[in-house]
Amino acid sequence: MILRTVTRRLLHAIPVLLGVSVLTFMLLNLLPGNAALAILGPGASPKQIQIVDRQDGLTQPLWDRYWHWLTQALQGNLGSSLLSHESVASLIGHAVPVTLEVILVAQVVALIFAVIFALFAVVIRNPWVDRLLSLVSFGGISAPPFLFGILLILIVSVDLNWLPATGWIPLTQSFTGNLRTVILPAATLGVGEFALHTRILRGDMLEQMREDYVITARAKGLPRRRIVFVHVLRNSLFVLITVVGVNIGKLISGAVIVEVLFALPGVGNLLINSITQRDVTVVQGIVVFVAVAFVVINLGVDLLYSALDPRIRRATSDG
């Protein structure tokens, strides 16, 4: 049954992925300048540029180039960088762990804090706590993340000199070093998530508190705290999971900004560098890779949701 859901979802994703790849191909073609210029420098003559272009196959018609790229990509070959000639797959492979770690840490920590804050607000039931919380979440949701990142760099790195402002130490090299480099980027990326999750969780919990089953729980003589923690929180977390799923796109685009801001060797930075250098094969590879990752993560969230929620579990096993 789950297999059928997965297959159906993946089949639906095919036209989307094709569309994304065609679109990026065309858009990249419209960009002024090219990789040859980046390699040869601004003083290159048109003749020299044409020679390099021909080596790269860039003089062939757009459609032929796309077809060539697609058949290669379907065999798992995303080509190689026009500049470094390193394979696109290995470039992405090196960058992915960085991006993944930042996103994961940001998301997990944001969720933990959101649950704590929302629980606090619902249990305390104080209008001032509510007001403060809605101010914080409003700020967190509406302020652009890089603003918060710059603030963090200015205060924590420049002023206090507690954590490095830029750079990355991989987990395989040093745990504390890795921790020191991941904190600020993850905080920058996570603050918006935290604000959004807190607001949604608190709102949904207050809504759940008005449900009939809560009256039943009260009629049983359960203390309010148990009702909030055991009954209401549990049911509101299902809502939160779907919100996390919907928000993955925003998280990925946020990661690009954060990686540039903190100069992290992640996929986002790789993408931006490749765009400025007109390294079209790399850009194309990254865009398709991210699109696939997006589809897969979304599917994962949905599967997780249906595995956890008994109501859905029934629905999928019935039909």
């Binding site: 009939d212 089953y213 039943t216 009629a219 049983k220 003589g221 359960l222 299902f238 109501r311 029934r314």
Partner: protein
Amino acid sequence: MVTSTEGGIVSTINSVAMEHSLIVERLSVSFKSGAGDVHAVNDVSLRVTPGKTLGIVGESGSGKSVTVRAVMGLLGHSATVTGSACLDGEELVGMPEDQLRRRRGIKMAMVFQDPMSSLNPTMRIGSQVAEAVRQHRKVGRREAWSEAVALLRSVRVPDPERRARDYPHQLSGGMRQRVMIAMALSARPSVLFADEPTTALDVTTQAQILTLLDDLKQRYGMGVVLITHDLGIAARHTDDLAVMYAGRVVESAPTKTLIGAIRMPYTQALMDAIPRIDAPSHSPLASIEGSPPDPSKPILGCAFAPRCPRVGDRCTTTPLLAEGEPGHRWACWYPLGVDA
């Protein structure tokens, strides 16, 4: 029965306490709202006897649910409750929430109208019953679970060991209501409030649930308050009746007496609105013409006057509930079958 005067007083108090487990006296409930206060319940007095069923009958909005929720202390902060509700000798009105909470489930329990929304959809029904067990007695998880299974068996859920592991949506409406009853019975309360427990069920299941409640009431000697808007159900399954209209009790008596000699025109209208047994189970309810008064507006005279076929001159002043015949009270200037 008693000889000395002193002993007489004591024994009278005792016999009152023995006779009734719950005594509600002049209970009123109003809700604060933007457009004036809503007076949902006015001066309601009720008595519940162990081992007997008190029926509260009335149209939608007559204040039945608010009355019993006020007794249980389940109304929100916007409700103001005055009067008295004495359960096993303890005053519940004004009791601090924490103490009230310790009496919920143990001394008084409740079964609601819609057993689907009244159960937590994401929790196994066995856990929900076991949770009630553990709330009232210090027992381990496994013991609570087997107790829950036993409770499910006692309300005649077939194959309770397996059913306990189900989620609410996997059960039929009737089974869900049995689960609610099992949960309510977990601590053997003195009073069980059943707020329209069969309205959401089909006719056959209705009868089964009501019979089950009758059996349990007898077996455990608990007092049951059965809320319904079907006077037919009330006639078959209650010992005493209170008819409510616009937040007031307008007629009350032992069920046999009341059904045998309806005095209040509103009760008669309810009688005429009883759904026919042979009608399809989900056909719209026959109803009384007109609609009840808006509880946020003051009422002058008898609240039923605009809809009453017997309305007369005196009806512009409010009729008070008074004993017209032994044990039979009504609030009407021109009662049926009584020559004025």
